[in-house]
């Protein structure tokens, strides 16, 4: 019998009074791609941080290839043969790629070898990291981790920012790693990927390992059931599609031939009260720029944005917000005041209307309380928003607008990196809001959810809207094909 490559026993970690990990036993065998699954707040990130030496466990043992190791700092983990690709790029933005590699003590040629295999062999190492697009940075992070030649490669949501073929490169590298009898610990919210590539999966729930199984046994349903535990009886993914209202509400937001730089090329659409309009696109097709224009962050080079039939002509988000057009960005901390409380964050958009500058008036306090109730925000760690889980943070970003009121909600990938339970809550909320007469534009990177959540769907490719259809009749495959700039195969 093989000695496990990695074995943890009774790993526990608490932050003050909040218990992140109760007791985790994780065993990874040599030559295994092992998935680590769990809803947000289950403890995945904490466990990875402990295994990469960023945090130290309160109790418990870690064994690598049979011998006990102590991981006090990241280099201890690297020395022990554990290399991690974290959720956020761990490269120094103000240095060139070459200088970054020098800091890590890696030979350029080793990193170049791995990049070659991911079709990035021509990457210019003299570029400043700030000038390199995010997906390339993720792959560079991966190549850097591989160049350390670790026994165990830990990948935390690496595919989140990648296009499909970039993700395929990552999978190819993972398989090659496995053939060398090395192992991978793979964390992903995309269960399809997990089913396709992982040999085993360990599922965490509330800081404990609740199950370890081969994903093939019982498939997606069983994984989801294990992650949800008691909640397993409820529908796993987004609840039943609600019958969409015929989109006959007044047009609240209208885009007319919006053009900006080389990224947006004549985008037009109408968004009506009471509808959820989906936007599907691969990474970097101009959706970021479109949301920047609609939220008043930037001005279009040409074209118009009409709110209730009148030009918005926003000079800053302030103007857009006053006209009822509000944004929920993907990067939650971009929208929040991380060191301030949940209540303060919810009240931020109200500050403009507070006549008495010194306190929130009674009406406003009530609005904030209502928003907390309605969103079911966990306020136990409420003194600083940065301590909340990602899902709860995202609820706060939406809650801010619930408290202040809005007409049009722009959601940019609001469920990125969020567990399915919270995700379902957010989608239910969006539907409720639409039923109450709000107009919602929803960009999501998870195409399979568009038919479930949206009324209509637009597909963007290379800065243009290339397709529009009734969301109920759309399919993930169909949308994906069109989003790649291809004609949909005739049905």
């Amino acid at each position: 019998m093989d000695t496990p490559l990695l074995a943890t026993r009774n790993i526990a970690k608490r932050y003050g009074s909040v218990v992140a990990l109760t007791s985790v036993d994780l065993t990874v065998k040599p030559g295994e791609i092992h998935a680590l699954l769990g809803a947000n707040g289950a403890g995945k990130s904490t466990l990875v941080k402990i295994l990469s030496g960023v945090l130290s466990a309160d109790t418990g043992q870690i064994e690598v290839a049979g011998s006990s190791v102590r991981l006090r700092r990241p280099d201890d983990a690297m020395d022990a043969g554990l290399a991690t690709v974290f959720q956020d790029p761990a490269l120094i933005p103000d240095l060139t790629i070459e200088q970054n590699l020098k800091i890590s003590g890696l030979a350029e040629s080793d990193v170049r070898d791995w990049l070659d295999r991911m079709e990035l062999g021509d990457l210019d190492f003299d570029l400043m990291v700030t000038d390199v697009p995010l997906p390339v940075l993720r792959l560079l992070d991966l190549a850097r981790a591989l160049a350390h030649d670790p026994h165990l490669l830990m990948l935390d949501e690496i595919t989140a920012a990648l296009t499909q073929d970039q993700a395929d490169h990552v999978f190819a590298v993972m398989r090659e790693w496995k053939e060398r009898n090395r192992s991978v610990l793979f964390i992903s919210h995309r269960l399809g990927e997990v089913l396709a590539i992982c040999d085993r999966a360990t599922i965490l729930r509330n800081g404990r390992d609740v199950e370890s199984l081969a994903p093939g046994e019982g498939g997606e349903a069983r994984l989801v059931a294990a992650m949800l535990g008691d909640a397993a009886g409820q529908p796993a993914e987004v609840s039943e599609r609600t019958a969409s209202v015929a989109a006959d509400g007044p047009v609240l937001l209208q885009a007319e031939a919006l053009t900006r730089d080389t990224r947006l090329d004549g985008v037009s659409f109408e968004l009506r009260a009471g509808e959820i309009l989906g936007l599907a696109a691969l990474e970097g097709q101009g959706q970021e720029q479109l949301f920047q224009l609609l939220s008043g962050d930037r001005k279009p080079d040409s074209g118009n944005i009409l709110v209730n039939g009148e030009p918005m002509s926003a000079r800053s988000p302030y103007d857009a917000i006053r006209k009822g057009v509000v944004l929920v960005p993907a990067d939650r901390l971009q929208a929040l005041l991380p060191q301030r409380s949940v209540r303060e964050n919810l009240a931020t958009p109200l500050y403009n209307r507070i006549a008495r500058w010194f306190s929130l008036a009674g009406d406003e306090t009530k609005r904030v309380a209502n928003a907390i109730d309605r969103l079911d925000i966990d306020v136990r760690a409420g003194s600083q928003v940065q301590r909340l889980s990602g899902g709860n943070q995202q609820k706060v970003t939406i809650g801010r607008w619930l408290a202040s009121g809005f007409a049009t909600l722009l959601c940019f990938d609001p469920t990125r990196g969020i567990d399915i339970q919270t995700k379902a809550q957010i989608y239910d909320l969006l539907r409720e809001l639409a039923d109450e007469g709000a107009a919602i534009l929803l960009y999501t990177s998870e195409l399979r959810e568009i038919p479930l959540v949206c009324d209509r769907v637009l597909v963007m490719y290379d800065g243009r809207i290339v397709h529009e259809q009734d969301a109920a009749t759309s399919t993930e495959e169909g949308l994906l094909t069109i989003a790649h700039g291809l004609e949909e195969a005739p049905a």
Binding site: P74, A90, D94, G105, L282, D462
Partner: protein
């Protein structure tokens, strides 16, 4: 059926010289500003020769060293308000112990003082790192501590040094003369050494790393504590060089020098020299030019017949103006890309 994916730019298409200029544009700009000021100054005064050059180079030495000290620390994500205090402390310590000593002895004392200053300020870096108190708070404290220590070591102006020691920094045994070369060498050699170390070696790049993104640096396996302590130690050493330069120029120690003024000027110099106060960006080379430029303003304004009391206003306006122009240029660049 082939899936076309959006093209991702991996190789830069801009020519090499353009990229170089973009990366080192600010440093180049400050040096050009210095050249322009020199040419202008030479037309303002009747005679511009070795004596004038020597005077300017010699007298800008303290500020230049402090600017380098501050640059190293700020690039590493800190800020050291204590450098001015260190200048005074080293000035009086050196002057007190160098009095009536032979040249060799004064040299030995100088070396010991620089090492001591590096150790002392490295300790400050350690305290900041352990206590997690913001740099600006701790070093505000060390500014007072250093200044107070200076008064304890030498309560009144006095002390002295050897003629040879004065020559090393000023090219003259009386601290003023027509030979700028020793001072130039005393700037160029250590600065190039530090610039090379910070730009090319793993330990030096760590300073940029922790200043640019401390979390990413930590995750990359960089010993952030060691890098920070190193930055403060090097800063302490350069602040000590500034103090030695003052000793050489004045030929004695003066505990009544206001260290805080020197600190503020060092911060002004690095800002002008292209070091971002948020850390991670800039170079010591730019800080050198900016240090000379800031000092140079005094003789230029005097030569122009500006009331010395008004000169401060112009110095302040210059800093604001340069930063505004730089900010606008950067904004335009971002808009275009």
């Amino acid at each position: 059926m082939t899936a076309t994916t959006p093209e991702i730019i991996t190789a830069s298409t801009t020519p090499g010289w353009q990229r170089w200029l973009r990366r080192h544009g600010w440093t180049t700009g400050v040096w050009l500003l210095l050249v322009a000021m020199t040419i202008w100054y030479s037309t303002l005064i009747p005679r511009f020769g070795a004596f004038e050059v020597s005077t300017i180079v010699n007298n800008s030495l303290p500020l230049v060293y402090l600017a380098v000290a501050q640059a190293v620390i700020v690039i590493a994500g800190g800020i050291d308000l204590g450098v001015g205090g260190m200048l005074v402390l080293v000035n009086v310590t050196a002057a007190r112990f160098m009095l009536d000593q032979p040249f060799g002895m004064t040299l030995l004392i100088a070396v010991l003082v620089v090492i001591g200053a590096a150790a002392l300020n490295g300790g400050v870096g350690w305290v900041i790192n352990v206590s997690r108190v913001p740099d600006i708070v701790i070093t505000l404290g060390t500014l007072f501590i250093y200044q107070g220590m200076a008064l304890a070591i030498l309560p009144n102006p006095g002390g002295g040094t050897s003629d040879g020691f004065r020559w090393i920094f000023t090219g003259s045994e009386v601290g003023i003369g027509r030979n700028p070369w020793p001072a130039i060498v005393m700037i160029i050699v250590p600065v190039l050494l530090v610039a090379w170390w910070m730009g090319k070696t793993r330990s030096g790049l760590s300073l940029y790393a922790i200043g640019s993104n401390r979390t990413a640096a930590y995750l990359s396996g960089i010993n952030a504590a060691r890098a920070k302590i190193t930055a403060y130690a090097i800063g302490g050493a350069f602040a000590a060089m500034a103090g030695l330069a003052v000793t050489a120029i004045a030929g004695r120690g003066n505990p009544n020098i206001v260290g805080g003024n020197f600190t503020l000027n060092s911060v002004a110099a690095i800002v002008l020299g292209g070091v971002a106060l948020t850390g991670g960006i800039g170079s010591v080379i730019g800080a050198v030019a900016a240090g000379i430029v800031l000092f140079f303003l005094n003789p230029i304004l005097t030569a122009m017949g500006v009331d010395p009391n008004r000169a401060q206003i112009i110095r302040g306006l210059l800093i604001v103006l340069v930063m505004m122009v730089a900010g606008l240029l950067e904004l335009r660049r971002q808009r275009r890309s």
